[in-house]
């Protein structure tokens, strides 16, 4: 083997820290430097004009070379950044990074550096990448399944609640017919309890329907109309006093009384807040209801009693959240969710303040239009 290159004497490239090859146009190795021979475990004489360049590659590398690299080198004269395994005389694989350039006489010059450590690192990266991709796939699938189940459950609530209304209407109509014929004390007592239970069932169903409308339907619907707010609320509070005879409900009204709002929703909102105050407030202590009309309508309901823990306050308006109370677990935890939905449908909001000094106060703002 001789080299007559004037700029780079033979000895300089023989031990350069990279493998260097000249491959003739027939694909045979023509010249090879000592460094590469040492890596491969071949004598230079065993390679030069005796072995095809292809045979230094693994079979997988040969296919990639023939289908991709060779046409690339032919078309653009070169290919770089090629990661191919060299196969040594003893059959060992040496991961290498190669650059190949075509020369004027259609021979190739090839340089390669070993990259065992880096190849191992890349292998680990690939493994981690695959694991990450699998994890993302599983998470996505899990999330889609959970969303499907949740949606189905909410739709089911809507359908069942809707269907329960018909038999309940029949029960209520039947109770109306039974009222005049309930003559004994015992009959009147049973009748009154049954009427009250039917009323509770009706409110539960209404809450569930409002919940499904707010969650998956078109949103909670309101119909604004000209309303004398003070009057509506005074009537509603009178009714509530009958419902909660053992509690003191105080109503204070100030400012403007006439608003364009949904009066039925307003009464529903107040009913939910008062129901909460009765359920969770200190027994026998008065419940303060304050209404103030300025540009917007402000309404607050305050009760004494143990405060709501701070960490619970943030979740209070979510569906299915209920406070800790042994008393009277009426409802399914939708009351405050619906209060918020009504407030938001009116372009307003609801907030809560709770401390051991002042008790718990829910404040609602409803925008006038």
């Amino acid at each position: 083997m001789t080299d007559n290159t004037p700029t780079l004497p033979n000895a300089d490239w023989q031990d350069a820290p990279c493998g260097l090859l000249i491959v003739n146009s027939g694909g045979m190795i023509e010249r090879v430097n000592a460094r590469l021979c040492a890596w491969l475990g071949y004598e230079a004489q065993a390679l030069a004009l005796k072995m095809a360049f292809m045979n230094l590659l693994s079979i997988g590398g040969r296919i990639f070379y023939q289908t991709h690299i060779a046409p690339l080198v032919r078309m653009q004269g070169e290919a770089a950044d090629l990661k191919l395994d060299l196969v040594t005389a003893s059959g060992e694989r040496l991961p290498a990074l190669m650059n190949i350039a075509r020369r004027a006489d259609d021979s190739l010059s090839v340089s390669c550096v070993l990259m065992s450590g880096r190849a191992q690192y890349e292998q680990e990266l690939l493994l981690m990448k695959r694991r990450a991709e699998d994890a993302v796939t599983n998470l996505t699938r899990g999330r889609v399944d959970a969303e499907d189940r949740a949606l189905l459950a909410e739709q089911m609530i809507g359908i069942v609640s809707h269907d329960l209304r018909n038999p309940l209407m029949a029960i209520t109509a039947g109770l109306d017919l039974l009222a005049p014929v309930s003559t004994t004390d015992r009959q009147r007592k049973v009748h009154a309890l049954t009427v009250s239970a039917a009323g509770r069932a009706e409110r539960l169903i209404r809450d569930l329907l409002d919940f499904t409308a707010a969650r998956i339907g078109t949103g909670l619907a309101i119909t604004r109309r000209s309303t004398d707010v003070f009057r509506s609320l005074e009537d509603a509070v009178d009714e509530m006093r009958l419902g909660f005879p053992e509690h003191v409900l105080r109503l204070t009204c100030t400012g403007r009384s006439h608003f364009e709002i949904d009066p039925d929703r307003l009464v529903q909102l107040l009913g939910n807040l008062v129901g909460n105050a009765v359920r969770y407030g200190a027994p026998g202590r008065p419940i303060e209801i304050s209404v103030n009309g300025d540009e917007d309508l402000h309404l607050s309901v305050q009760n004494e009693g143990s405060p709501i823990p701070l960490e619970q306050q943030a979740l209070l308006f979510d569906a299915m959240v209920r406070g800790q109370s042994e008393r009277n677990a009426e409802g399914v935890g939708l009351g405050l969710f619906i209060v918020r939905a009504i407030a938001e449908a009116h372009g307003g909001e609801v907030t809560v303040q709770s401390s051991s000094d002042t008790g718990t106060c829910f404040s609602v703002r409803l925008a006038s239009s």
Partner: protein
Amino acid sequence: MNLQQRNNVRILGEGPTTLVLVHGFGCDQNMWRLLAPALAEHYRVVLLDLTGCGQSFTPAYQPDRYATLHGYASDVIAIIEAFADGPTVLVGHSVSAMIGVLVERMSPGLLTAHVMVGPSACYLNDEDYQGGFSRSDIDELLTTLEGNFLGWSSQMAPLIMGAPDRPELSDELESSFCRTDPDIAAQFARVTFLSDHRDDVSHIRSPALILQSTDDLIAPLSAGQYVASVVPGSVLSMIENIGHCPHLSAPEACLAAIQQFLRENALGA
């Protein structure tokens, strides 16, 4: 996204016969750059990039559709119906010779003849059949692909060393040669090298020219001889060439053989 854009279809020349040139695994229509201009002097030449390769519209690649070569064959049928004029010859390199076989099977009469460049009906050895490869060879190819595509962060072209003696190639063109999405390349490799179309090829009745390189690792002589033995009236033409791409490294010999074959079948000009 129309058909022309999806498969980067290009039409060159006019003539009594349409030649549809379909590249193989690992590259794109650039592979025909030394053959297409000469053919276009006499024929209507249709060039295309298979879906997922080269400058095709990659988002159109659906793994299910291209899980076998039939998806590619459907694409080629649609392209022939839209762009071919007169008798049509499919010139398929490597795996695309089998795509041509499926085109004839799926749409009989659409093709008048086949030119198969380095065809192989089955790349895997199977008892007496010598495809040239074992299953573990193909697995090794997939590993090699993976290693080489690791550095191809989505849009970045691999480093070009710079070819001062080849100013005719613009940087843009250079970096776009045979680029492909790594996941698509891996699936295309599996579909190509694990397929077995020996039964399909035995049903071919159109005349076929087989261009067989004298030294081809991917499609060895035994593979070309097999195709020649099962296609009645096929012509096996040996091309003095080392490697799998005689249309790039021996274009004159390929051109002469194709011209002669077309003339003999009354398709020439």
